[in-house]
């Protein structure tokens, strides 16, 4: 009998001391109505080929793809593989699986893209194009778990800007490149002195 009471007391004490430490969490709240938009921005000078010429303000002059390709400068048969290129675009790096030019570029309408099912797609709709193969990444992007963003977490208070695929990935060689890290720590405990195991 005494043991039972004692155990109960111990249990109660244990529970109460645990409860002291807990932090009360509230119930779910409805999502506030968004008053501001989330905008996916495209890189500057997107959809233009750099001519390496500068205009009077010192800005790089870009031309649309069709500027050359409509004039027949692209050759009679549109290229499929990088090695078929004769002059232009030869300095580009192509490393994107087994894709060829026409997997994404529309061979007839050079200012547009082409989906896997043959449908034509505006150049700006790259999320949809990339998402055909990278569905999991597109899903994560839409869930806010992939791709850089700026602005407000609470869209009832302010807008949000999101980067597109091309801000970080070169679409022709999409693996994220290596780079030197910034901001080395200068912790006084992190000198080169020998450390304990």
């Amino acid at each position: 009998m005494f043991t039972r009471v004692f155990c109960t007391l111990i249990c109660l004490f244990g529970i109460s001391s645990c409860q002291k430490d807990t932090f009360s969490t509230a119930e779910d709240v409805p999502t506030p109505a968004p008053k501001f938009a989330t905008t996916v921005v495209l890189p500057s000078a997107f959809g233009q080929v750099n001519t390496e010429q500068k205009d009077i303000r010192g800005q790089t002059i870009g031309v649309a793809c069709s500027t050359c390709h409509e004039m027949g400068l692209g050759g009679d048969v549109p290229a499929r593989k990088a090695h078929e290129l004769q002059g232009f675009h030869k300095d580009m790096v192509f490393s994107h699986g087994t894709l060829d030019c026409q997997s994404c570029h529309h061979p007839e309408d050079r200012d547009r893209l082409r989906l896997a099912n043959g449908e034509s797609l505006a150049l700006a709709d790259t999320l949809q194009l990339c998402g055909q193969c990278h569905g999991a990444k597109l899903r994560d992007f839409n869930d806010g778990a992939h791709g850089g963003m700026n602005g407000y977490w609470d869209l009832s208070k302010g807008p949000r800007t999101r980067m597109s695929c091309m801000h970080c990935h070169d679409v022709h060689a999409p693996a994220f490149p290596q780079g030197m890290p910034v901001f080395p720590p200068k912790d006084r405990f992190l000198t080169n002195e020998p450390q304990h195991d």
């Binding site: 807990t22 778990a145 850089g148 963003m149 602005g151 609470d154 994220f176």
Partner: protein, 307 residues
């Protein structure tokens, strides 16, 4: 007939010892009070008698903020706005980090450094990025001082900052209750109440707290003027500080500075109580884990891998 005391020039040995002792005492007393000479009575007296954050009335707080703004101008030459930003109703903050896409560039740590007015000489930051061997989540074997191109093959990168635990050991050990958990889940420090004992720093299993060994040095033009009492105002020497989820930004609806700096979008922030928030989607669809779960700290900072 009594024996005359032994004197030299009419001064007894006893008197000489008394004078010597009194001089020594006076000198020690003067030395002990010497720090008072550096005391700027006008502002320091007010900060000395200032009450605990939770006991300050709105008018008290107004005076405190005015004093802090004034002293920042005087000591650092910068015009700043210090606010007392209160937690929002119906909001509990949560953070998640995608370890599959973090590349270890440390831009989050740099953004934290600038946003939160850290000491420039020490490169202080609330974030420590660990380079980890694949196949292990042993934090003690992570390397935070790597200096080579990232990401390296067979390595992954794990930024660690305050986990805003629901059962925070740092809060329990504070002898003066200078640190506590706010109702939106953020663990904060009253820098003016902290006595600098560093118990919290020792208690934190994530090495998330930092101590101000010296008075922070920041050039006036680099000071972030948007400040809050419990977050990024310039900390005094001898107090502990920590990540506060950028509460001066997040309590006004903005994203934290480290998230905005992340080039890959590895960081996810939001309201845990909003079922449609990004953070809730991550918790529902990813296999998240917390660091050192076995300690029972119940962090609000979650990690996950894509695969």
């Amino acid at each position: 007939m009594t024996e005359k005391p032994n004197t030299v020039g009419g001064v007894t040995r006893r008197d000489a010892m008394k004078v010597f002792g009194a001089t020594l005492g006076a000198a020690a007393f003067a030395r002990a009070l010497a720090p008072l000479q550096e005391w700027d009575a006008s502002s320091d007296f007010d900060s000395f008698v200032q009450k605990h954050y939770k006991e300050l009335t709105p008018s008290d707080m107004e005076r405190v903020l005015e004093r802090l703004t004034h002293s920042t101008k005087e000591e650092y030459g910068a015009d700043v706005t210090i606010k007392d930003v209160k937690p929002l109703d119906g909001v509990q903050y949560g953070y998640a980090l995608n370890l599959s896409i973090c590349i270890g560039c440390r831009k989050c740590a740099e953004a934290c450094h600038k946003e939160n007015n850290h000491d420039r000489t020490t490169n202080n930051s609330y974030i420590r990025v660990l380079e980890m061997e694949q196949g292990s989540i042993d934090l003690e074997r992570g390397n935070s001082t790597y200096e080579h191109p990232v990401p390296q093959p067979n390595r992954y990168y794990m930024p660690v900052q305050c986990q805003q635990c629901d059962n925070p050991p740092c809060v329990h050990v504070c002898p003066v209750q200078a640190t506590w958990k706010e109702k939106d889940g953020i663990v904060v420090v009253d820098y003016n109440w902290c006595i600098g004992c560093r118990y919290c720093e020792a208690a934190c299993p994530y090495h998330a707290r930092r101590f101000n060994w010296a008075k922070p040095e920041i050039p006036a033009e680099e000071i972030n003027p948007v400040q809050a009492y419990l977050s990024n105002r310039i900390r005094p020497q001898g107090v502990v500080e920590k990540c506060h989820f950028c509460l001066h930004r997040t309590r006004e609806g903005r994203l934290p500075a480290c998230l905005e700096a992340c080039p890959t979008g590895a960081r996810v922030f939001g309201n845990l109580l909003d079922p449609n928030s990004e953070i809730r989607k991550v918790l529902a669809t990813k296999r998240v884990f917390v660091l050192k779960e076995e300690l029972g700290t119940r962090p609000r900072f979650f990690y996950f891998f894509d695969k």
